[in-house]
């Protein structure tokens, strides 16, 4: 009995921790599956993994061709995020394949892909599905003869020192990245049809993508700042994907190395790789830039309850609370550009919401003189933040038959005419009938 009780208490105490994983209330990922080409990567990239583990992530290292790996168990995902450090894998072991990974992303989970030269078709396909096209030449690398990283040996300028970051504090953190980032690997372009993919780290205008070992016979297909080195995708369901053309970007060697950009006199003690990737991984794993809107309320002025239907020309109040996830807790989100639309095929009312700086946004307006099925719409899309798209349907009805004014002052002449006519008719009838 006592034993059972203790087991129960143990369970009830630990259950919240066991299930303490990715959820709308706790958007930060917890359990991450890392698929490696080679277990040696675990040590050669240990700094990156350690920074993740120190932030509380549980990493599960597996070989990419391990036949036992699977993302799902009994229809539930066992992981919240996936890191693919296996650029050369042709097929994954277990039940993981292209469709499984895309389903994983489409069900709201995050993904980090590190490709490299000789990236396999499988990795390329995953990238293509996310809107990123790697250079088709498998041996191609990004080469830059002006902004390469100065090293002791005159190399082939494939180690690039890039500092062309995306300008977003949300994605890269508020602390400015001083040093350049070292990159060695394959370049990619982002598909112009895809509006969701962002270039986080771009190559300089002098870069091009080619095989460094062979002679350049044809003009390279990818050149200049069209080449992206690191890109991110925020899917419509707010799943985040990081795509890098370089696996060594994450390596301890690059993390620790000193860096001097060619042509720049400044010598940095340490490359920015660590800062760049730490901040970027915070963003990818939803430690930053994740918004939620709760308590969407609307009601007539002077009332507290939400009506099922509004009448035209009603005065109403609309409020919503928006919070941002800060890794541990939800903090009020402060902005002055949140707008609400009262929308039926086109916005009839568009108002900027006022805020009390504590996460609550509110406004009041008059329902337009048009009946129909309206929606309260908040479409809030800002760079780096998860997109907020709230819509709440509400019908607006015209006046009831007894809601019009009973007597209109302007119509008094008509009332007078009608009643005098009736009286006159009555008198006339009496006179006509009884006059003789």
């Amino acid at each position: 009995m006592l034993k059972l009780l203790s087991v129960l208490t143990f369970l009830t105490l630990t259950l919240p921790f066991l299930t303490h994983s990715f959820s709308p209330d706790h958007p930060t990922d917890r359990r991450i599956l890392v698929l490696l080409d080679d277990l040696a990567l675990k040590s050669s990239h240990s700094l990156f993994f350690k920074s993740l583990q120190s932030r509380g992530f549980e990493l599960d290292f597996k070989l990419a061709d391990d036949p036992k790996i699977s993302l799902q168990r009994y229809g539930l995902y066992s992981y919240d995020a996936l890191i693919l450090f296996s650029p050369s894998v042709d097929r994954f072991g277990g039940s993981i394949d292209l469709a499984a990974i895309l389903d994983f992303v489409d069900s709201g989970h995050d993904l980090i892909i590190a490709a490299d030269t000789n990236a396999s078709d499988l990795i390329r396909q995953i990238a293509v599905e996310c809107g990123v096209d790697f250079d088709e030449d498998p041996a191609a690398m990004v080469i830059d003869h002006t902004s390469y990283a100065v090293s002791d040996t005159e190399g082939d300028h494939t180690v690039i020192a890039s500092d062309d970051f995306i300008k977003s504090d949300v994605i890269l953190g508020s602390k400015k990245i001083e040093a350049p980032v070292l990159f060695q690997g394959i370049g990619h372009t982002v598909n112009s049809e895809n509006s969701l993919v962002l270039k986080v780290l771009s190559a300089s205008p002098s870069a091009y993508s080619a095989n460094p070992k062979s002679k350049l016979s044809n003009p390279p297909s990818l050149t200049g700042s069209a080449i992206s080195l690191v890109s991110v995708v925020q899917a419509r369901n707010n799943a985040r994907v990081l795509i890098s053309g370089s696996l060594s970007l994450f390596s301890d060697r690059f993390f620790r190395s000193k860096v001097q950009k060619a042509g720049s006199p400044k010598k940095h003690e340490k490359s920015a790789n660590e800062q760049f990737l730490t901040e970027l991984s915070k963003w990818v794993f939803h430690e930053r830039g994740h918004l939620k809107a709760v308590n969407v309320r609307h009601h007539k002025v002077g009332e507290a309850d939400e009506p099922a239907i509004y009448r035209i020309n009603d005065d109403l109040e609309y409020s919503v609370e928006i919070y941002e996830w800060h890794g541990k807790s939800w903090e009020p989100y402060v902005a002055d550009d949140v707008q609400v639309q009262f929308y039926m095929m086109s916005p009839y009312v568009l108002k900027t919401l006022s805020t009390d700086q504590k996460g609550s946004y509110f406004t009041a307006f008059k329902v337009p003189d048009v009946y129909g099925v309206f929606q309260f719409k908040v479409e809030y899309q800002r760079l780096g933040y998860t997109s907020l798209s709230l819509s709440k349907q509400i019908p607006v009805r015209p006046f009831r038959h007894n809601e019009y004014e009973r007597f209109i002052p302007a119509a008094y002449p008509y009332y007078g005419a009608a009643f005098s006519m009736m009286a006159g008719f009555f008198v006339f009838t009496v006179v006509h009938l009884y006059s003789k």
Binding site: D106, E129, V233, R236, V241, I309, M345, V373
Partner: protein, 747 residues
Amino acid sequence: MVGKPEPVNGTATAKTGPSPSPATSMSGLKPDLLNNLSFKTLKLKTKQQELLIRVSILCLVYILAFITRLFSVLRYESMIHEFDPYFNYRTTLYLTEKGFYDFWNWFDSESWYPLGRIIGGTLYPGLMVTAALIYWTLRFLSFAVHIREVCVLTAPFFASNTTLVAYFFGKEIWDTGAGLVAAALIAICPGYISRSVAGSYDNEGVAIFALLLTFYLFVKAVNTGSLAWALASAFGYFYMVSAWGGYVFIINLIPLYVLVLLITGRYSMRLYIAYNCTYIIGMLLAMQIRFVGFQHVQSGEHMAAMGVFFLMQVFYFLDWVRHLLSDTKMFQAFLRITVTCAVGVGAVALGVGTASGYISPWTGRFYSLLDPTYAKDHIPIIASVSEHQPTAWSSFMFDFHILLFLFPAGLYFCFKRLSDATIFIVMYGLTSMYFAGVMVRLILVATPAVCLISAIAVSATIKNLTQLVRAKNKVSQTGSTKGGSSTKGSSKGSVDQSQPFQRNGATVLLFGAFYLLSKYATHCTWVTSEAYSSPSIVLAARGAHGNRVIFDDYREAYFWLRQNTPPDAKVMSWWDYGYQITAMGNRTVIVDNNTWNNTHIATVGRAMSSYEDEAYEIMRSLDVDYVLVVFGGVTGYSSDDINKFLWMVRIGGGVFPVIKEPDYLVNGEYRVDKGAAPKMLNCLMYKLSYYRFGELTTEYGKPPGYDRARGVEIGNKDIKLEHLEEAFTTSNWIVRIYKVKPPNNRW
């Protein structure tokens, strides 16, 4: 067959009245006073007899009219038919559940998404209120009926009542015999049955009753000059206005009739009282219907009535002046001035009213009645409805049968005995016949007139014939005495002595009439059972072994929608199915059969006729979740969306010129096989209809993808859908439902 004996009996009994009278007057050649006395004492009995027979015939006709309309319930089940009745049923349900005021103010957010529809202000509430009253009465009497049964049986019940009105109307115009025949004819006339079988819960079901009642009461008012009848007629008109938009026919026919009476010099005080009272009170009452509102004083269609109203006053005034003025010359001059002034003032008022927009111009529907080609050129949405097409000859034959030949005969009799009442029925018959020729559905309006006029023909003919037969009898028995009472027979009798075969001829003709009338009864019963009792929502076909195959796909699909989609899902379909989806599927629709917003319908038409990605944009902008198409390629059901598709293109193209009809045609030919236009083969409607159809073998010996409705092998068998996915297809593929996918997650 069952129905036949009645009219013959009816006419025969009508004869019993005059026929004994010669015998009585014969028996005693006494002074007039005595004669009259004995006449009365003897007649009492026959009169009672006659009354008994008349009442029992009417009862039988009443029951017959009801039961002949129950074929649909026997063949299928007690269900609501077609399209509009589903809306009427839904609103009636709402009325009985929520009460009258909620019904009156109902804003329906489930149709015409996102515009919504003010139901209370855009319908004729007469039908719903009638059904609800019947329902409440039955409930009050402790009959636990379901509102659906009441709705199903409303139309037959009112058809029965119409036979009574037809009897009284016939009696008013001609005599009781004609009334009985009219009642019997209208009870089973297919033109009327087509709109009043059990389950056809539509406005016309009660409106024809109201129409005939108004006309009857008005004619009665004209005949008697009684304020009470005119008032009753106004209330009949009010009921008609509350029930059906066809009231415009009344408000134009009655003034026209009055005008004709004025022109033919039949102006009388009776007419003045009847028209003025009916018009003023009827107009005030009609204004209480929200949908009609101020149209009686503001719309072009109603101006004729008002003009005639003022003309009546001018006539009355002139009459009075003539009474005062003895000098004819002075009166003539006065008349000329007054008439010129009155017409001038009227014309100026009409012109100013129209120019200032106070008087609205005629609506498209009204124009298309006067000019049958108007709708085809200008308003495709009216022209697209099959019941708005000009009538084919065959459907006249189908709906009227022998009445078509009896109608001119009846007109002849009416002209022979011209009175205010017969002028009315002649005008009603002629105008409604014209309208019946313009639009198929208006055969319904012509039916009562045709029945009444034919009844006059039948009744008068048979009366004459039987009189001939009987008179001959008398002649052979008692010599050549012409009974003073047989006024009608005497006119015929003037030639009777010269025709030896007259009696035989009359007998043969009687049998001929009997034969024709029995044929009519047979035809009516057959038409009712075979053609007009199909609910159209459940389809029936004959199987290979002669067995009956039922396709219940519509209800299957609507039930699926109700059970498997979120309650706020929006369904896009062509407007024909809107009422059914809201009533049976309980889901929001974009457009429905109340075609009040042409742009919205055109948007749907455009989506259906665009490529899938363009259509996807339109569907996203309308928040569409599901798309429903009707497809008959598997079953050979020909009124499916592919066959309606050109109308979608036309209606869509009427508002959005990017849709062009020639893009869907090849050399002016509409086809779906390999030779079809490329845009046709890739538009949304084609894709949704024929998705995965290429894999299906529909008929033995034909290639897969053989469309049985059009008899061709389809041209695009490899259809890929990008933004939609198949959600449900009914067992016979008649209804196919697709889900609109959300935008791609990663793109």
